[in-house]
Structure formats: C-alpha cells, structure tokens
Symmetry: D3
Subunit: 188 residues, 6 copies
C-alpha cells in the first residue's frame, strides 16, 4: 500500500505507534478506509493527534448543530474554495448522513439552487460570507443567525466548523492532497 | 475581571479546572496576560484544549521554520483577511521575536513594501496566494518554495500555519473577538 | 408529468408540435429522459429550436475537440460559475463519456487537482481564464493553445464551447433551472 | 476585401453559399456593412446559421422588451466584461435606436451614472449581477424584476439576452474579434 | 445657466472672483465650454485652485510622456473604475489629440483589443495593475517600464497620472458628477 | 542625509529653493521630521507645491469633518489598498490626534472590529465602498451619509479625502515610497 497521498515526500512513521495503528484499524472497520488526510498527517504523530482531536471535537462532539449540518457547512465552505479533497470526502458524508444524494451534490455545487429550510439558508449564508469576506462580518450577520433560531453557542460552532474547513481546504490545496477513490461511489 | 471577549454570550467555565487554571497562570507569568482567544474558548474545556494543542504544535514545536517565520506567516495571512485580533496579537509577536518593530508593522500592512530575503519573499508569496486563491495552487508554487531552499516538511509547515490562521481569522471575525489591549504597546 | 423546471411560470406549448414531440421522444429513447433545459425552452418552439441547433452544432458536430473534451470545458466553466444545472448534467456526461467517474468529479470541483495531459491543462486553463477574466485575454493565451497542439479552428471551438456555457450557466442561474434527478446516479 | 476579423486564421468559405451571400447583401443594404461577427463565423456555414438564428430570435423577435431595451442589456453586460467588439457594435445600436447618443455612451461606461426609469434600473441591475455573480442569483432578484413590472416571460428574455452577450463577449475576447470601423461614427 | 453638475447642493461662489472668471472665460475660448469638474469645485475657490494646479501640472507640464499618452492613461484608469465623467471627458481628449476616434474608444473599452506599441502596452499595463491591485506592485513592474524605454522620471509621471485619475474617478462617482454634453460628439 | 525614499532615482533639487527649505524646516520643527513624501516630490518643486497645496487644503482647511475624522478616512482607504507608506504615516496621525493608540491600529487593520459612533461607521463605510467599488456608488450611499448627519459639503469632503488617498496610495505603491522610521514609535 502506497501512503503517498500528497505531492510532498513525507512518508508515514513506520511502524506506526500502537495507538495510531488501532485508530487506523478503527477507521477501516467503520469507514472501510483510512481517510487519506490521516495518512498525510501521519509523518508526525503529534501533528496527526492534534489535527484529529480538533476535527473530532468539531465534527463529532455534542452541538446544537447536527452532524449533517456540520458536514453541510464543510462542503459549502469547500465549494467556495474549490477544494478537491474536502468536496469529495465531505460531499460523500452529506450524501450518507442525509440519505439524499442530491443534497450532497447541491452543497458541493451551489447551495442556493435547492430548496432548504430558513435555518439552513441562514447557516450557509453565514458560512459562505465568512469564507469569502471575513473582514466584512458584523453584528447583523450574527443577528441573522439568532433570528433563524441559533443560540450563541451554535454561532460559535458554525464559525469554528467554517473556520476549520478554511484551514483544511488550504492544507489540501497547498499539498495536492488526494481523497480516497472509494468516496466517489459512496451513497449515490 | 470580565471575560467577555467576543460578541457571543459564552462565559468561561467557572471555576476553571485545575489544569486550565495552571495554564492560564503560566500565561500570566510568561506573557503578562491570558490571551483573549484562550478565554473565548474556555466556555468548553475540550474545545480549549483541542485548539491549544494544535496551536502549540504549529507555532512552538520543532520545525524548519523559526518561530519568527511562523509568526510572519500568521500576520501576512491575517493582513489579507484584515483580522483585527490576529494582526494585533501576532503583529506584537513579530515585533518581539525580531526585535524589529518595523518588521511587525510591515507584515501587518504590506510585506511587499520592505526588503526581505528571497527565502522570506517566497514563503510569504506562497502563504498569500494560498489565502487569496487556494483553488489556483499548483506544483509551480511548491517548486518555488523548494527553489528557495525549503524542504517538503517545511512546505507542510508553511501550509499548515497559513491554513491555521485562515481558520482563526474567521473564528475571530465571526465572533468579534477582541485582542488584549496590552498588545498594542508591546515591543514598539 | 409536471413540466415546471424553473422558477418562472412558462408552461410548455401544449400540444407540442409534431417535430418537437419526436425530438423529445428521441431524447427519451437515447438518454432515458428529456433534459429539463429543453422543457424550459419549450414554452416557445422557435427559442427551443434556436437553442438546440446551436447546442448540437457546438457539442456534437465535427471538431478537433472530442465530445469528451467539449464536455470537460462545459463542466470547468460551470464550476467557475457554480452552475447547479450544468454541473449536474454535464458532470454526468463527462463521467459517461470517459468511463471515469473521478474525472467528472474533478472537472466539477477543481481541474487543477488531478493529473491531466498538457493538452487538457492548456485547454482548461484557457476556458477558465476566458470565464473569469475575459477582458484580459491576449495573444499569449492563444499561443499557449497553439503550443499545446491546438489549431486555430480548435481555438475557435474552445472559445465557443466556453462561451456557450457562460450563457447557459446564466440562463440557468437567472431562472433557477433544475436538472433532471436521474443525472445524479448516472455513470457513478 | 480582407475578411480577417479575428486573430485566428479561419477564412470565410469561398464562394459563399447563395443563401449566405443574400444574407450578407441584405446586411449591406440595411446596415451599410456586413457585421464582422458574421464574417468571423462564415468559415463554417452551419455555425454561422446557428449563431445568427439564435441572435435574431433573441434580439429581433417578439418580446415584452423593446429592441432598444435588449440592446441596453447587451451593452451593459459587455461593459462588465470590457468587450471591445460588443461595446462598439451594440453601443452604436443603442445610439441609433434611442436617438440619444449620450444613452449609448452611458450604457457602455456606467449605467448607474445617468437618470433611468425604475424599470430600466431594475432590468440592468439584474443583468449586471447575473454577469458578475451568477452563482448568487436568487428569488429576490427575480422578484425585483416582477416588482418593476416585468412578466416571467420578460425575465426569461432578460436572462437570455444577458446570457447571450456573456457568450459573445467571450468569443470576441478569445479570438480578438474586431468590430467594423463604421460603427464608431454612427449616430453620434 | 444652471451650475448643478453633481448630486450635491453646492452652488458656485457668486460672483466668482475675477481670476476664476478669467480662467473660466479662457476655458470657454479654448474648449468651447467650462468643464463641469471646474464648476463642481467652484463652491470653494481654494479647492478649485488646488485641484486645477495639480491637474495642470500633471497633464500639461513638461514630461517624457506626451499629452496624448497622459490622456491614454487617464482613460484606461477610468475604464477600470467605470467612471462616467472621466471616460466621457478624457475619451474626447484622446480622440482629439490623436485624431483617431477609434483609439479613444479603445482606451475607454479595452486597451488590450487594439494594436499598440510595446511602449504603450507597458505603460497601460502598469497603470491598469496600479489601479486594480496597488498592493501587488513590485520592482518587476517598474523594471518592465524601464525595459520599454521609460526613465525613472517617466515612471513617476505614469504613477502620478494614474493615481490622479483614481482620485477623480472616485470624486466623480461619489458625487454623481455629470460631464458636459458637448464632449459626446467631439472628434468623432 | 540620504534623500532616497523611493525606488526611483529622482534626487531632490539641490539646493532647495528658499521657500521649500523654510517649509521643510517648519516640518522639522513641528513634526520632528520632513515627511518622506515631501522629499519624494522635491525633485520638482512645482510638483511638490501642487501636491502640498492640495494635501493641506484637504487635511487641514476648515471642514465639517474634524482633522481626526479626515485621518481616519485616510487610514481606512489605505487599509483597503494595503499602502505601507500611508498606513504608517497616517496611522500615527490617528493615534496622535485621538490620543487613542488602539483607534489608530483599528483603522489600519479593520474598522469594523471596534466600537464607533454611527456617524463614523457611516463615514467609513462610504469611504471603503468608494475605494473598493467606485462604479457602484449611487444615491443611496449619499443618503446614508445625510441620514448620519452629514451635509452635502461634508459628503464632498469625505469623497475628496477618500479620493486623495486612493491617489497617494498608488503613487506610494508604484514608487515603493518608504515612510520615515520615526512614525512607528509615535503615540503608542
């Protein structure tokens, strides 16, 4: 198995530490693959762990946002940035979590083009503006989220998920990170 | 002491866990303040810890990039995004680490306007393009870094530092995060 | 069967003229559907015919560009413009014509992220610049295509296919045109 | 007579088919010239016919938009795209149809700078946004046209005329198409 | 004679001071009109004089750039900014000074679309970039001017003329300044 | 004393005329320095005088805008354009005139990020839009200023100060003009 998933010559630690090996085995069991982003970070286990911990807190921990909503934000941010890796991987997640292949496509292509709840339109409009024009955010943007029923804690989570994918989109773009091929056919 | 450092109503956990209290005390000792970004995350200790761990790995761990270089990237990314919090806090860091107040100002205002080594111009041009147009990155951009003497591991670090501040810039913008006033007069 | 495929209240001519009905039947036979764009134009048969004639000449007539190449241009232009209709319909065409689902995804998400021939990179770079910054085109852009092996006639065809989708992307966006659901699962 | 009106070496079919020759003669009679765009397409009569048919349907057929209004849209779209050919040719058309040379100039330079009816401001604002940011169109944009008195059929026509010139602007830019000199002094 | 040439209610000083009256009479004699920009500033004679002095130095004093070249820069800058007033007034100046109506149109519409000397292409490319992306100017841009035969003094003049019209374009846009109608038919 | 303050080889007139020498002496007395911009223009005394006269009228003459407000506009415009010279020099002016170092930093980094009066937010929003998108200014923008209490004369002054720094930002960028080092530590 080649572990070269970016344009950089940064091979995985070999052998992987026991804890990492178990984490990767768990991924194989649950997802049927080790996501390439994890392999990319695995040249340095501290970096892998720091990245994974933040990812897991943002995307999987308790939140007023459902996991699907967090994935929708991920994909809409990645669509603005045209991020190959994140559109492929998280587009598949939206399809899988929603059971609605069309929704995944719409998040990746143009969220304005499909019918969404007011809650979701407000959430995605905020994430999109934050991605495109962060310097122009102001109180009216936060108020629009509150008016759509989001709490201040929810606003924090929207901001942090949108922020996180603005990070990963750029890490992927800078390194030419390639998503696992298996995503393409998932949940179609 | 008010701990309201954003526009969101998310008070710090009270009392703070022992470990967090020690971390904040350490900040007071070493920096003369607890950076407001830490207070902002302290409504949820897991989030604070995940954020801090990634930050510390990126900005403080071993790297082919000096700490000053990582702060220069931080400020140049934040200049593109006009991020109030990060320009103030990390502009101060550039001034302090370099002992060159003018350098800190130049990173925050326009890095092209001052004399820099070829290494630093290549590094900052990469970080700037990655921030402004991530979808346009390609092999030529990585090669320009290699030509300036950076290793693939260095490229990873440039990408991740630039990515990280594209995240924090947006978290700060979305929440109206305010930097500690003390930064303004530091290392002038 | 509802024929409302846009946000505009413009029902199809009823009954359709014989020639149109035969054309739609032919679509059903060959594609398994009548593409919604044809239904959208069918409120006025002259408009439908003028649109179809131009489309068929550009996408199906003799050309130095293969049909797949023309579809690749269609999708890359539509990715710049985030056109829901065209990304769905022509993304499916790239998948089907190439037998390579990943290629279709890459055209819709970021053509720079996958390995392509020099010919295809030159072709798509031209189409992308023409879409994003038409006023900046100059002789160097044409020469880059010639250097990649394209004839002047090929350049004409690249320009016209790219131009055409800059038209249809805007017609679709302006009218909220919805693609047939069947595209989503095709050639995955 | 040289028929080289673009940077591409694509001479007109010689001799022209009878039908085309008659069409060009008609142009000479009515316009005092054969518009160079027609000569440019005349290397392939099928392409010329498909282009002309669509053009004639959009710009000359029955519509809730006057011919002048369609020309105003053409010029405003071309101003966004800085299209030399279309600004020259259709700027002249606005001057001629309106009998108001200043109106033609204003459409080519900045439609916001002159007094226009609410109907025309709404129409041109829609065409401008559709040209600059097609992915951001939504129902509010269509409603603004309805509020200004446009029917759904009129919206279709605005969208298609604006779309068409986004196509021709790019064909002209990609090929360096030169307008007939005679336009410059017309209707001044 | 109405002197309201902007959207602001700022009438000219009445009566005008003798020196101003003579200046305006001179304009009438030489140009056949008092340019509206002068009337706009004439609500405050100090402002009028300061503006005129800078204008006259830049556009009329000795320079390595011909008066026509300075007007070409003026129009190209104004085209980027879509400035109604300056395109009309200085477009007429290019037509008049060059005796080439087409050249005036090309500067206002797209300077890339017409054949120009290498000197003029370099000059206009510099002025355009300086207008669109001043923060990205660097030594290579100055060197390109030197390579095209410009002296450092010429570079100063190009920069200052381009800068000046970036000022006046904005004053005109902010105040809805209307050019004299007489320009439209001049030198056609 | 070296007087090379730009990348251009344009030495100051030597000796300076008496009047200029006195002006520079006055600067030394009042500011503790001769601002480099004056030295840059001093290769041609007519140009220096024309520039200074306009600057002094705009920034120092009677106005409904306070000197601090005019400096705030200067810095906000310069922040959009990332102008090294003007951010350094006029950032210092805001700090000095306001006695509020943080305000100077905020104008240079992101005016939206700090608490300002409605008057100041309206003033800076106008200046920012005028800088970024002059072609989109319309009556609603002027009305927003009137609603915030500005007179038409005030609007003129806002437009002209914003316009002026759009000029000087570009002159500085084009020539790599370097601000006096002394500004960096002033009024911190």
């Amino acid at each position: 198995m080649s572990d070269k998933v970016t344009a950089l010559d940064l091979p995985m630690v070999d052998p992987l530490p026991e804890e990492t090996r178990q984490y990767f085995d768990l991924c194989e069991d649950k997802l049927g693959m080790v996501p390439n982003v994890l392999k990319a970070y695995a040249f340095d286990i501290d970096k892998l762990n720091a990245f994974s911990a933040l990812y897991n807190d943002l995307m999987l921990a308790e939140s007023g946002l459902s996991k699907l909503e967090r994935e929708m934000i991920a994909v809409v941010v990645s669509a603005v940035n045209h991020c190959w890796y994140c559109l492929v991987a998280h587009g598949a997640a939206v399809r899988a979590l929603s059971g609605d292949p069309k929704l995944g496509e719409a998040m990746a292509m143009n969220w304005r083009a499909v019918a969404l709840s007011d809650r979701h339109r407000a959430m995605l409009a905020f994430a999109e503006k934050l991605t495109e024009a962060p310097s122009k955010m102001d109180e009216a943007d936060r108020q629009a989220l509150r008016d759509a029923g989001f709490s201040d804690r929810d606003i924090w989570d929207i901001a942090n998920v949108a922020g996180f994918f603005n990070m990963t989109n750029r890490v992927a773009a800078a390194t030419d990170m390639q998503p696992n091929d298996a995503y393409h056919s998932q949940a179609r």
